[in-house]
C-alpha cells in the first residue's frame, strides 16, 4: 500500500517538469496568497510590538477621566502634584516621587517625499521622564537643556520625516527650536520629539499637563495607586499601567488590518483554489492513460487519490514557502508609519514572525488539499478500459 503510494507519487512528481506551465500556476498562485497574507499581518504584528514594548507594567499612566488617549487629556498643575504624591509611588534619588508630568502637543512635519504635513507628537517631559524609560538612549548629540527651546528627536522620526535631523531648526508657534540630539529606544517613543516640559508649556500656551507617569514602588502596586486616586475627590482620573494603555491603543489598528487581511486573503484563496483545481484536473487529464495502466496492473484506487493529493500539496507548499520568503525579503523590517490613537504618527517596522509564516503555510496546505481532492477522485473513478482506449 505505502509502496504503491510512493511509486505513484514519484511518477507524478518526476513528470512535473513536463507539465511545468500548469504546475507553476499552483506555485505562483499560492505564493501570491501567502505573500499578501503574511505581509499584511506582518504590518499589524510590527505595529503591535512597537507599541507594546513601549509600555512598562510597573509604570502607571494617569489621564483625566474618560480621555482614552493622552491627546485628549488635561490635568492642572495642582492635580499633577496631587497625583505624584499618591501612596505607592517609588521615590527617586532626590527623595521626590519618581514621576514625570508630561505635556503632549502635536506638530506637523513633512514625510520624506511628501507635500502635506503629518502629525508628530511633541512631548514635554520632566527629568524623571528619562528614568521612567530606561531603554531610551541618546545616539547623537545631547539631551535638551532645561529652559531652552531645544528638542531631541526619535530615530524613527529622523528616518521618516524631513527636516528633523541633528542641528536642524523647527519652527513652531512663531519661534525656532533647535534639534540637539537623536535618541533610540526601539519602541513607540522613537516616533516623538521631546522637549523640556516647562518650555513646551509656555510655548504652546498650556497651563497644565496631559498626563502623569508614576514609577510604582511595588511592581504589583497598581491597584493601590488606582484606589487612592479614585478615592481622592480633588482629582478625576483614569489610572492604568503603561503596558495596558499601549496595548489598548493597538486594538483598532489590529482589527482594521485583520479585517482587510481576512477579506483579501479569502478572496485570493478562492481564486487560487480554482486555479489549483484547474491545474490538477489538467494534470490528471494528461496522465489518465498512465493512471489507467497502473490500475490495470493492480494498483488500488486509494493510492492514486493519495498520490495526486500529495503532488498538489507539494506544489502548494513550495508556493507557500516562496510566498512567505518573498514577504520576508521584500517587507521584513521595512519602516512605515501610521496614525496612532493620539492622532500622531507612529513609526514601526513590518515584522514577519515565524507564527505568521506557519499560518500562511497552513493556508497553502488547505488550498493544496482542496485543489487536489476532486481531481484525484475523478482520476481514481475513471473506468480503466475507457481511459486506456482514449486517444
Amino acid at each position: 500500500m505505502l509502496k504503491q503510494v510512493l511509486a505513484i507519487t514519484q511518477l507524478g512528481l518526476r513528470s512535473i517538469p513536463d507539465r511545468l506551465g500548469p504546475s507553476l500556476v499552483i506555485v505562483v498562485g499560492l505564493a501570491g496568497v501567502v505573500a499578501v497574507f503574511t505581509a499584511l499581518l506582518a504590518m499589524a504584528a510590527g505595529f503591535r510590538s512597537t507599541l507594546e514594548s513601549a509600555g512598562r507594567a510597573d509604570v502607571a499612566l494617569v489621564l483625566r477621566g474618560g480621555s482614552q488617549a493622552e491627546l485628549n487629556s488635561g490635568l492642572t498643575r495642582e492635580q499633577a502634584t496631587i497625583i505624584k504624591q499618591a501612596p505607592g509611588v517609588a521615590a527617586g534619588a532626590d527623595g521626590q516621587p519618581l514621576a514625570s508630568a508630561e505635556v503632549m502637543v502635536i506638530a506637523e512635519l513633512m514625510k520624506t517625499g511628501e507635500q502635506s504635513g503629518s502629525n508628530i507628537t511633541v512631548r514635554g517631559v520632566e527629568p524623571a521622564g528619562f528614568e521612567l524609560r530606561p531603554k531610551l538612549r541618546i545616539v547623537e548629540g545631547r539631551r535638551f537643556k532645561p529652559g531652552l527651546k531645544e528638542l531631541i528627536v526619535g530615530r524613527g522620526v529622523t528616518q521618516q520625516f524631513q527636516g528633523a535631523g541633528l542641528g536642524k531648526t523647527l519652527r513652531m508657534r512663531g519661534s525656532d527650536w533647535t534639534v540637539v540630539g537623536v535618541f533610540k529606544s526601539g519602541d513607540a517613543n522613537e516616533s516623538e520629539l521631546w522637549a523640556d516640559a516647562e518650555v513646551a508649556q509656555s510655548a504652546f500656551n498650556r497651563q497644565g499637563f496631559s498626563s502623569v507617569r508614576l514609577q510604582l514602588a511595588d511592581p504589583k502596586g497598581l491597584q493601590a495607586v488606582k484606589d487612592a486616586l479614585t478615592a481622592d475627590p480633588r482629582v478625576n482620573v483614569d489610572v492604568e499601567s503603561e503596558q495596558s494603555y499601549f496595548s489598548g491603543q493597538t486594538k483598532n489598528f489590529r482589527q482594521t488590518i485583520g479585517a482587510l487581511a481576512g477579506v483579501v486573503t479569502f478572496i485570493m484563496a478562492l481564486g487560487a483554489t480554482f486555479a489549483a483545481l484547474n491545474t490538477m484536473y489538467a494534470a490528471v487529464g494528461t496522465r489518465s492513460r498512465e493512471i489507467a495502466t497502473l490500475r490495470a496492473i493492480g494498483f488500488g484506487g486509494f493510492p492514486v487519490v493519495l498520490s495526486i493529493m500529495i503532488e498538489s500539496l507539494v506544489l502548494a507548499l513550495v508556493g507557500g514557502a516562496l510566498g512567505a520568503a518573498l514577504a520576508y525579503i521584500l517587507f521584513n523590517n521595512m519602516a512605515v508609519s501610521t496614525l496612532g490613537s493620539n492622532f500622531t504618527q507612529v513609526v514601526f517596522q513590518f515584522a514577519v514572525t515565524p507564527g505568521l509564516v506557519v499560518d500562511g503555510l497552513i493556508i497553502a496546505v488547505a488550498i493544496g488539499m482542496l485543489g487536489g481532492f476532486f481531481p484525484a477522485l475523478r482520476a481514481a473513478r475513471q473506468p480503466v478500459t475507457t481511459a486506456l482506449r482514449a486517444a
Binding site: G32, V36, A107, E108
Partner: protein, 385 residues
C-alpha cells in the same frame, strides 16, 4: 456558424477548465473592484467638495486651537464671503464608540455649507436652542435618533463646569446631503458652539479651525496666502489650504493606502496572468491540428490570430465584468455594515479602470498563444511536428 459563435463554442469545449478559469478571473476582479474603490476613497475621495472653501488651521497642527479673535481679521480679507469655525468635541457614544461631533455657530454653518440640506424650521430651531444638536442622516439612522429626543453624548476631551463629561443635547434637526456623495458624509453631527463654549470647563473662546467660503474660487491661493501672512510670526500662525487638501491630509496620514493596494493588486494580477495565460496556451496546444485545418480551408494567419485573441478576451471580459458586478453590491453592503464609515463605492470610475485592466489582461494573456497559432505552418502542424 458565426465567428463569435465559433469562439464561444471553443470555450465550451472543456467546460471544467473554462469555468474554473472564469472563476479565478471573477475573484481577481472582485478584489480589484473593492480595493480600487478603497483606493479612490483615500486618494481622490474628497473631489466632490470642490474648491469653494478654505480651511484655516493653526500652523503647528490643527489640534492646536485658534482664538476666536482672529474672526474679524479673516472676515475682512478681500475675496472671503462667509466664515465659520468649528471645534472638535471628541464625542463618545455609550462606552467607547467615537462620534464625529463638532461645535459651531448654526447659521454660519448653514451659510458656509449649503450642501447640507435641512428644512428652514430645523435650522432655526438649531440656532435658537442652546442645547440643540443636529445629526446627519446616516448617524441618526444608525442609532435610531428622532427629532425632539434628548441625546446623551460623552466627550473624551471637554468636561462641563461641574467636571462631568456626560453631555446631553436636544436633537432639533436631521440633515441630508444634497447628492449621493454628500449623503455619504452625513455620518457626523453638530452642536451649538455658544452653549458648548459657555458650559465647558476651559478653553473658552477658541476655534479649532476656521472654514472660509470664497466669493470666487479662482482666488483661493491668493486668499489663503493673505490670511497666513496676516498671522505670520504671531503665536497663532496659521496654515490655510483648500478644503479638499485638508480632508486628504487626514487620509494621507493613515499611511500610503495606495501603495498597499498596488502591491496586493500586483500579486493578484501577476498570478492571474499565469492562470489565464496557461489556460489559453493549453487550449491552443491541444488544437494545433484544428488550427492547421482552418488555415487549409483558407482562413488567413490574421484571422487565426484573431480567433485565439478573441477567446482570451472573451474569458477576461466575461470574468472581469462578473467580478466587478459582484463587487458593486458588495461595496454597498460594506458601506452599510460600517455605518457609512468606510464608503466603498464601486462606481463608474472603478468600472472604467476595471475595463482598462480587462483589455490589458486580454492582450497580455492572449498575445503569445495567438502569435504561435498565427505562425503555424500547415504542413508541420498537420504532421504533428
Amino acid at each position: 456558424m458565426t465567428r463569435t459563435g465559433f469562439v464561444l463554442a471553443n470555450l465550451g469545449r472543456r467546460k471544467t477548465r473554462t469555468v474554473l478559469t472564469l472563476l479565478s478571473i471573477v475573484m481577481a476582479f472582485l478584489l480589484f473592484g473593492l480595493l480600487q474603490a478603497v483606493n479612490v476613497l483615500f486618494s481622490a475621495g474628497a473631489d466632490f467638495v470642490g474648491a469653494t472653501r478654505l480651511v484655516t488651521q493653526a500652523r503647528v497642527s490643527f489640534t492646536q486651537s485658534l482664538p476666536l479673535r482672529l474672526l474679524p481679521q479673516i472676515e475682512s480679507v478681500p475675496g472671503v464671503d462667509k466664515v465659520m469655525w468649528s471645534q472638535w468635541f471628541g464625542g463618545v457614544w455609550q462606552e467607547n464608540t467615537q462620534l464625529i461631533i463638532q461645535a459651531t455657530d448654526p447659521m454660519r454653518l448653514h451659510a458656509v455649507y449649503p450642501e447640507l440640506v435641512m428644512p428652514d424650521a430645523q435650522w432655526k430651531a438649531f440656532a435658537e436652542t442652546r442645547t440643540g444638536m443636529i445629526a446627519g442622516r446616516l448617524l441618526a439612522n444608525q442609532y435610531g435618533w428622532k427629532i425632539g429626543q434628548k441625546v446623551p453624548i460623552g466627550s473624551n476631551i471637554f468636561p462641563q463646569k461641574d467636571g462631568s463629561k456626560a453631555w446631553i443635547f436636544d436633537l432639533v434637526g436631521i440633515y441630508d446631503g444634497k447628492d449621493e456623495e454628500w449623503q455619504r458624509g452625513t455620518g457626523g453631527g453638530w452642536i451649538n458652539f455658544g452653549y458648548f463654549d459657555e458650559a465647558n470647563q476651559f478653553g473658552a473662546g477658541r476655534a479649532g479651525v476656521y472654514i472660509i467660503r470664497l466669493a470666487n474660487p479662482d482666488r483661493a491661493t491668493e486668499v489663503a496666502a493673505t490670511i497666513d501672512r496676516m498671522f505670520e510670526n504671531s503665536p497663532d500662525e496659521t496654515k490655510t489650504q483648500a478644503e479638499k487638501d485638508f480632508n486628504l491630509g487626514f487620509f494621507k496620514q493613515i499611511g500610503d493606502i495606495g501603495l498597499i493596494v498596488r502591491w496586493i493588486l500586483f500579486a493578484v494580477f501577476f498570478t492571474l496572468l499565469l492562470v489565464v495565460g496557461n489556460t489559453i496556451a493549453q487550449s491552443v496546444r491541444e488544437r494545433i491540428p484544428e488550427l492547421a485545418i482552418l488555415k487549409t480551408l483558407g482562413f488567413s494567419d490574421r484571422s487565426v490570430l484573431g480567433f485565439v485573441l478573441a477567446e482570451a478576451a472573451a474569458l477576461c471580459i466575461i470574468g472581469g465584468l462578473l467580478g466587478l458586478a459582484v463587487a458593486t453590491p458588495l461595496g454597498v453592503g460594506i458601506t452599510k455594515a460600517t455605518g457609512g464609515n468606510l464608503p466603498v463605492a464601486v462606481d463608474g470610475r472603478v468600472w472604467l479602470t476595471g475595463a482598462v485592466a480587462i483589455v490589458l489582461l486580454s492582450f497580455a494573456v492572449g498575445l503569445l498563444p495567438a502569435l504561435r497559432a498565427a505562425r503555424l505552418t500547415i504542413v508541420d502542424a498537420l504532421a504533428g511536428r
